[in-house]
C-alpha cells in the first residue's frame, strides 16, 4: 500500500467504560488511492462512521496510526496538519444538516476559499465559486444567493460536494452521502462523485449500507462487522464470491427484486447470525487471501 495517499494502519478505537467496552474499530487497516473509490459497507453500528471520524481526526486512535502520504500524522506539526486538513474533506449524510441554514450558498463556498486560498481577490473568488458550481452541474447565477432551505436534497448534496472540492482535496470521505436522497436523484449524486474522482484524481472513501450503490461506484469494497474489516478486495470478486459468513448474510439480506422474497435460504442464514455474533468476540485468526486482491479474515472455528 505504498502509493496510498491516506492509510489507516492497525487502528483501534474503543468506547465506553472498561466493564462494557464497545469496540468501534479493531485493528482496522486500509489505504485510499488516487483515482479509486473504496466502499465501506456493514451493518449499522459496525464502526463505519468511526473509521471516517478517525480519518477526519475527530477521534484519536487508541492504537495504530494514521498515515498521510506514508508519514504518520500522530506527531505532525501544525503546518502539516493544516495541509492535511486541506487535503482531506468530507461529505455528510444529511444534506440539510450539512449546510448552515443561516448562510447563503455563496457564503458556504466562499469560506473555504478564503481560508485556503487567501490570496484570491474578490473577483477571482467569485469566479472560483462559479467554477465550482458549474463543476457540480448547478447554475451559479441562480444558486449563489439562495439559502439551503430553498434547495432540493440533491442540490444540497451537490453543494456539500462543491464545498469539499473548494479546498482542492486529494481525499474525500463520503459517509452515506445518498441515503437521505430520493431514489431518482441518488444516482445523479453518485455519478457526480464518480466524475470528480475521475477528473480530479481523488481518492474516495464511500461509506454505505446499500451494497448495490457500493457496487455502482467502488472499485474496491470492505465489509465491516463489529469494528472489524472481515472481508475486502475487488468489488466484483467480493460480491460474486463472498467468503465470510457475515458477507454472505449481508448479501442475501439485501433486497433484490430479481429474487423472490419467500426464499427460505435466508432463514438458514439468519440462524447463523447468533453464531457470527459469538464468534466475532473471540480472538481472530490471520487474514487469508481468497483470490488475487480478495481477502477475508476468517471466523475462528
Amino acid at each position: 500500500m505504498s502509493d496510498a495517499i491516506l492509510a489507516l494502519d492497525n487502528v483501534s478505537k474503543t468506547f465506553g467504560r472498561a466493564d462494557n467496552p464497545v469496540y468501534a474499530a479493531r485493528s482496522v487497516s486500509f489505504g485510499l488511492h488516487a483515482g479509486r473509490t473504496l466502499a465501506l459497507v456493514g451493518e449499522s453500528g459496525s464502526g463505519k462512521t468511526t473509521a471516517a471520524r478517525l480519518i477526519m481526526r475527530e477521534y484519536t486512535p487508541d492504537e495504530g496510526q494514521l498515515l498521510f502520504r506514508g508519514t504518520p500524522l500522530g506527531k505532525a506539526n501544525a503546518k502539516a496538519l493544516k495541509a492535511y486538513r486541506a487535503s482531506v474533506q468530507m461529505v455528510f449524510q444529511d444534506p440539510f444538516a450539512a449546510l448552515n441554514p443561516t448562510h447563503t450558498i455563496r457564503y458556504h463556498l466562499e469560506r473555504p476559499l478564503r481560508l485556503h486560498q487567501p490570496k484570491l481577490n474578490s473577483k477571482e473568488r467569485t469566479a472560483a465559486i462559479e467554477e465550482l458550481l458549474t463543476r457540480v452541474k448547478l447554475d451559479p447565477a441562480l444558486l449563489m444567493p439562495k439559502y439551503p432551505h430553498e434547495l432540493s436534497g440533491g442540490q444540497r448534496q451537490r453543494i456539500s460536494i462543491a464545498r469539499a472540492l473548494a479546498v482542492n482535496p486529494q481525499v474525500i470521505v463520503a459517509d452515506e452521502p445518498t441515503s437521505m436522497l430520493d431514489v431518482s436523484v441518488r444516482l445523479g449524486v453518485l455519478n457526480l462523485l464518480n466524475d470528480m474522482k475521475a477528473q480530479l484524481g481523488l481518492a474516495l472513501l464511500y461509506i454505505t449500507h446499500d451494497i448495490a450503490t457500493a457496487r455502482y461506484v467502488a472499485e474496491d469494497i470492505m465489509v465491516m462487522y463489529a469494528g472489524q474489516i472481515v472481508e475486502w478486495g475487488d468489488t466484483e470478486s467480493v460480491l460474486t464470491n463472498p467468503q465470510h459468513p457475515y458477507t454472505r448474510l449481508l448479501l442475501s439480506a439485501v433486497p433484490d427484486p430479481d429474487r423472490r422474497f419467500s426464499d427460505t435460504r435466508f432463514s438458514e442464514e439468519l440462524n447463523r447470525i447468533e453464531f457470527i455474533r459469538r464468534q466475532s468476540a473471540l480472538p481472530q485468526p490471520e487474514t487469508r487471501e481468497v483470490t488475487k486482491n480478495h481477502f477475508i479474515r476468517p471466523m475462528p472455528e
Binding site: L187, A212, R260
Partner: protein
C-alpha cells in the same frame, strides 16, 4: 374475487394553508384484497403517509379529507363513523406500524401497559389476562415475555420494532399498515422482520399495506404495487408485472436509477 379489505375511491386530501391549500393526495383509488401484501411506493413527500393516516382517520388539522372521498374497510364506510365507533374501529380493523418504531412506543409506560391499553380499550379483559395475551403475542415475534415489565428504552431498535408488530396483532386486525417500518434498521434486521410479517400474514390471514421508498424491497415482498407521484397514483399492478414491464414513464425512470447488486450494471442513469 372476494370483497376487498380496503377499498379507496377518489381519495382527496388537502393540507389547508393560510392562503393556499396543498393537495397532498389527488383522486387516489385502489383496493387491497384479503391476505394481500400491497406495496405503496414513491418519493418522499408524495403523499404515502397521508393516505395511511387517512385510513385510520388519524389526521389532525390542518389536514382535510375532501368530500366525495371514500374509504371502505371490510365494506364499512370509515369516513362516516362517529367518534366512538371510530375509536372501536381503530386497531381492531386496521393496525399500524409507524415510520420509526423507535418513537412509537410511549417512553414512560411499560411494554405491558402499552399492550394492556389496547386490550382494555377494545375488550373486557383483566390485567392478568392481558398479561398472558401479551406474553403470547411477544412469543409470536420471538421476544421473551420477561420484556413485558421493561420500558421501551431498555429494548434495542429491532426489538421495539417487533414489539410494535406484536401490539399490532393483539386484536387480529384485517389490515396492517406499515409506513416505512424499517428505514432506521440495517438490512439484516429489516429482512428478518419482513420475513416474519410474511409468515404471520400467511398464518393469520391479514392484509398488509406496505409503504416504502425502497423499490427493490417493495418488489421483493409485495403481491401488488402502487406507484405514487406528487399525490397521484400513477400505476397499480402486479409486482412482477410492474417490475418487468413498467408502463408509466415515471416508473420506468425509477427502475432505471436503481443500481443492481447482481448481473448487468445499469448504465448512466437518469440525471436529476
Amino acid at each position: 374475487m372476494t370483497d376487498p379489505v380496503l377499498s379507496i375511491r377518489n381519495l382527496n386530501i388537502d393540507y389547508i394553508g393560510a392562503e393556499k391549500d396543498f393537495h397532498a393526495v389527488k383522486d387516489v383509488s385502489f383496493d387491497i384484497a384479503p391476505g394481500e401484501f400491497f406495496g405503496l411506493a414513491g418519493e418522499s413527500g408524495c403523499g404515502k403517509s397521508t393516505i395511511a393516516f387517512a385510513v385510520s382517520r388519524l389526521h389532525r388539522p390542518p389536514a382535510l379529507i375532501r368530500k366525495g372521498s371514500q374509504i371502505l374497510v371490510g365494506g364499512r364506510d370509515v369516513l362516516s363513523l362517529t367518534d366512538d365507533e371510530l375509536r372501536r374501529f381503530r386497531w381492531r380493523e386496521v393496525a399500524m406500524v409507524f415510520q420509526s418504531a423507535m418513537n412509537s412506543l410511549n417512553p414512560v409506560l411499560t411494554i405491558e401497559t402499552q399492550f394492556y391499553d389496547v386490550l382494555k380499550a377494545h375488550t373486557r379483559i383483566s390485567r392478568a389476562e392481558a398479561r398472558t395475551r401479551a406474553a403470547e403475542l411477544l412469543k409470536l415475534v420471538d421476544i421473551s415475555p420477561d420484556r413485558l415489565s421493561s420500558y421501551p428504552h431498555q429494548c434495542s431498535g429491532g426489538m421495539r420494532q417487533r414489539i410494535v408488530i406484536a401490539i399490532c396483532l393483539a386484536l387480529n386486525p384485517k389490515l396492517l399498515i406499515m409506513d416505512e417500518p424499517t428505514t432506521a434498521l440495517d438490512v439484516v434486521v429489516q429482512r428478518e422482520i419482513l420475513q416474519r410479517i410474511d409468515v404471520l400474514r400467511k398464518e393469520l390471514g391479514f392484509s398488509v399495506l406496505f409503504i416504502t421508498h425502497d423499490l427493490g424491497l417493495m418488489v421483493q415482498v409485495s403481491d401488488r404495487i402502487g406507484i405514487m407521484l406528487e399525490g397521484e397514483l400513477v400505476e397499480v399492478n402486479d409486482a412482477q408485472t410492474i417490475y418487468r414491464t413498467p408502463q408509466h414513464a415515471y416508473t420506468k425512470r425509477l427502475w432505471a436509477s436503481m443500481p443492481k447488486l447482481h448481473g448487468e450494471q445499469i448504465r448512466e442513469g437518469a440525471q436529476s
